[in-house]
């Protein structure tokens, strides 16, 4: 299937916007925000692949994110790996954790909320483990030594981080776009809709789900690697805490789960929302978050299909 | 007993019923016939309050009920045995039947349960089985039994013979007659045209959102238009 001209146009505008953004945004604060937004979009896209397309709702996506972050950090700090090599291993590790988690939970036919809670529990197990293990820095967390230079995946000019995350997100979107149009994607969606029927049509549901969770895990660990290189620090709460799991599902759900641009749109919307509320009400601690919560409900009330529902409804 | 005037209903922009008129008298068996997807089930669901009509009036026992909440309609004795059974798969057969009298006739629950089990002995053998594991036909019996547990004044049966063996179909039709004889008014939606017309007093034929034909059942059986459209003769 080829792109229709409208889609191609939209894609072009989008690409141009993001590519040229650093030309206009000189504030490092704003550039940082955009970088974080794209980071959330990437994390959200990884969740979207499994949860949105595959219908396997995970509440513990931190388990992949944290693995990416920790593996790359540990390899660099404790084993002297080059950051790029560490990143490659970390992404593979994220995929592996995904495959393992998928293999055990899907083998027993865990579905729906059960699966959600199992992922949550796995994230918790990992959190407790890295928090007690000497190798992972236990309670201290992992601090990556400053070593500026592209060779170490550290950039003093943060514009490069922005382009890095943009490229990663674009790659993730391309992957999802390709999946959407492939047999695998059709199978994934079929499994989401009805496993019995899928099985009857010759689909190996187990395999499809395991492949999906492996890809999703690898993508989330890309986000983890990025986080660690960007902030040069990770600890158990950041890596495996529930907050990151919530971040992973928030953007795609707000934007529109099971849609290509849902996570990006969701991340942008959430970023804007939290900026606006902080700007308007940041003086008293908590009030801005309160307003954020209220606005979240308002969005849901009027856009039950997520923001992508807006576009779809019109089309 | 039930009067439907100029009823309109549908799903969103999709208009299915476009001005139905219908009268049901106490004690009747009325058959509603129509090809697949013309809107028979939509009509039933609108009568029961599951779908809000977009126009027209429904008068039940002298009161307007168009747009009323389904629990109110059930409480007043208008009960349906739905298409697709809609039994509670996670409850036992017994619990399914008990919930049939959630809104009505709770007091006579034990007596009614006994009656239902006489009509459907198979259910009696399976009282503690999870309803979701019943065979297709057994589920149909359960759905019918559950409807009867509420002591309906008007019972709407949406394809009660679906998935039943020929012998059970006969029994089902016999049962419908008996229930009717006990004073329950019946609206029967069926694909089994010949047999339904065999027990119905009157019938309506739904086409393109309106009733294209109606009249006494005996008369309709012989109607060439019906034969042509439904029996392919």
């Amino acid at each position: 299937m080829r792109l229709r001209s409208g889609q191609a146009g939209a894609l072009f505008v989008l690409a141009a916007f993001f590519l040229l953004l650093p030309q206009f945004v000189t504030s490092s604060y704003w550039l940082g925000l955009w970088t974080l937004t794209l980071f959330y979009a990437l994390l959200g896209q990884s969740w979207n692949l499994l949860g949105g397309y595959g219908g396997q709702v995970s509440f513990g996506h931190a388990v992949f994110f944290g693995t990416g972050a920790y593996v790359s950090a540990v390899l660099q700090v404790k084993f002297g790996f080059n950051a790029w090599a560490g990143a490659a291993v970390a992404v593979a590790a994220g995929g592996l954790v995904g495959a393992f988690l998928g293999a055990v939970s899907f083998r027993y036919g865990l579905r729906g909320s059960y699966f959600a809670l199992v992922t949550l529990a796995f994230a918790e197990v990992f959190r407790v483990l890295v928090n007690s293990w000497e190798l992972t820095g236990s309670g201290f967390g992992m601090l990556i030594p400053l070593r500026p230079g592209a060779a170490h995946l550290q950039f003093t000019d943060r514009t490069w981080f922005y382009y890095l995350i943009l490229a990663l997100l674009a790659a993730a979107c391309a992957l999802v776009w390709w999946i959407e149009r492939s047999r695998f994607g059709a199978y994934l969606v079929a499994v989401r809709e009805n496993e019995d029927a899928a099985q009857a049509l010759g689909i190996d549901c187990f395999r499809v789900k395991v492949v999906a969770i492996t890809l999703s895990g690898a993508l989330a660990s890309v986000a983890g690697v990025f986080y660690v290189q960007y902030f040069l620090f990770v600890d158990s709460h950041i890596g495996y805490g529930p907050a990151m799991s919530v971040n992973a599902l928030l953007a795609p759900l707000i934007g529109g789960a099971g849609t290509l641009f849902g996570p990006l749109i969701g991340a942008v919307a959430l970023g804007a929302l939290s900026e606006l509320t902080t700007l308007a009400l940041g003086k008293t601690p908590g009030v801005n978050l309160l307003a954020f919560g209220v606005l979240l409900l308002v969005i849901l009330r009027f856009l039950p299909n997520g923001l992508m529902g807006l576009f779809r409804g019109r089309a | 007993m039930l009067a439907v005037d100029g009823l309109h209903a549908g799903y969103g922009a999709l208009r299915i019923l476009r001005g139905l008129d219908m009268r049901i008298e106490r004690g009747e068996i009325v058959a509603v016939l129509g090809a697949n997807g013309v809107g028979k089930t939509t009509l039933n669901n609108t009568l029961c309050g599951l779908i809000r009509p977009t126009g027209g009036a429904i008068t039940w026992l002298g009161e307007p009920i168009a747009g009323a909440r389904p629990e109110r309609i059930v409480a007043s004795g208008l009960i349906q045995v739905p298409e697709g059974r809609r039994i509670f798969p996670n409850l036992t057969v017994r619990e399914n039947l008990e919930l049939g009298s959630y809104r009505r006739a709770r007091r006579n629950r034990d007596r009614n349960l006994e009656r239902v089990l006489i009509w459907f002995p198979r259910l009696g053998e399976r009282l503690r089985q999870q309803a979701g594991t019943l065979s297709g036909g057994e589920q149909q019996m359960l759905a019918t039994g559950r409807g009867l547990m509420g002591e309906p004044q008007l019972l709407i049966l949406d394809e009660p013979s679906l998935g039943l063996s020929p012998r059970m179909v006969d029994e089902m039709f016999g049962l419908i007659r008996r229930i009717n004889a006990e004073g329950v008014t019946i609206v029967l939606v069926e694909q089994n045209v010949v047999q339904s017309l065999g027990i119905a007093h009157r019938a309506y034929v739904l086409e393109n959102g309106v009733f294209a034909l109606s009249g006494p059942a005996a008369q309709l059986v012989a109607d060439p238009r019906l034969k042509q459209a439904y029996l392919g003769l």
Binding site: V104, A121, L253 | R69, E95, Q130
Partner: protein, 292 residues
């Protein structure tokens, strides 16, 4: 130390009393979870609100938490009922993922409202009986702990009776799986949802009243209990109340022992390992049933 049976019994019993609170929080969650099929992210925040309510009743009105429960349980039932019926349901349009987001939004609102209204200061109450000990042979147990254990057992059994013996309970279970069918027999699905949410919230209020004498209140206090409550629910089996009860008690004991063996910190792993093991070998939990 580990060979000392008295010590082990003391640990076990203590685990039971802690598990009782888990069970109570989980019972509420199980109900909401079983019916709405969704994780109520606001559960911890509701616990927090109930703790504050009990706290202020005590400090401002001099009402003992054990007396306050008589007002708070019904009060929170109504609160939960209204919350579901007029906030969660209309906003979520009955969609699972949206319910999830709505409860997430609610928890953000409640937490920060509490922070704004009552600040982040830790608050505790001092009741005389918190220091009263009951000697049960192997160990001395604080009275509030015993009360909590008793209450959890009672509520667990009451819930089980409610769900299996009453029409309301059957309706709740029916709605969980077949909403259209429920409407057809005259069950108001919206009402049942709200009742379930209300009941779940009421139990949380009860848990709060039992917890307050030996615990503290801060705007984030709920998080200490939600994760474990989720775990309990799955362990016990979805929609099973006896399961939630036993799951909670078991987790309390497991936590106690693994805490003693591995240290409280790593000991948390004990809980999750049990959880994962159970899921692997009995994927539906102890009492969960699988419907084809």
């Amino acid at each position: 130390m580990l060979a000392d049976p008295v010590f082990l019994l003391a640990v076990a019993f203590n685990g039971l009393t802690v598990g009782a609170i888990y069970a109570l929080v989980a019972l509420g969650l199980a109900l909401i979870y079983g019916v709405l099929h969704i994780i109520n992210f606001a559960h911890g925040s509701l616990l927090m609100l109930a703790l504050y309510a009990a706290f202020f009743l005590f400090t401002l009105g001099g009402v003992d938490p054990y007396v306050a429960v008589l007002a708070l349980a019904p009060g929170f039932f109504v609160f939960g009922y209204l919350l579901q019926r007029f906030v969660i349901a209309p906003i979520s349009f009955g969609r699972d993922t949206n319910v999830l987001l709505v409860t997430l939004g609610l928890s953000i609102i409640f937490d920060n409202l509490a922070l704004y209204l009552w600040t982040s200061t830790t608050r505790t109450i001092n009741v005389p009986y918190a220091q009263t000990y009951v000697d049960i042979g192997v160990t001395a147990v604080a009275l509030p702990r015993l009360v909590a254990l008793g209450a959890a057992l009672l509520v667990g059994v009451a819930f089980w009776l409610l769900m299996t013996r009453t029409d309301l309970g059957k309706a709740i279970r029916a709605v969980a799986r077949e909403r259209q069918g429920a409407r057809i027999v005259g069950i108001s699905v919206e009402h049942i949802f709200a009742v379930s949410f209300g009941l779940g919230t009421a139990v949380v209020a009860l848990a709060a009243c039992l917890l307050l004498p030996t615990f503290y209140v801060t705007p984030t206090v709920g998080y200490a209990f939600v994760l474990i409550a989720f775990t309990t629910v799955v362990l016990g089996g979805m929609g099973s109340f006896i399961g939630a009860l036993l799951g909670g008690l078991l987790l309390g004991v497991v936590e106690a022992f693994s805490g003693v063996l591995l240290g409280e910190s790593l000991g948390q792993i004990g809980i999750f390992l049990i959880f994962i093991l159970v899921l692997l070998f009995r994927p539906t939990g102890f009492f969960g049933q699988r419907v084809a």
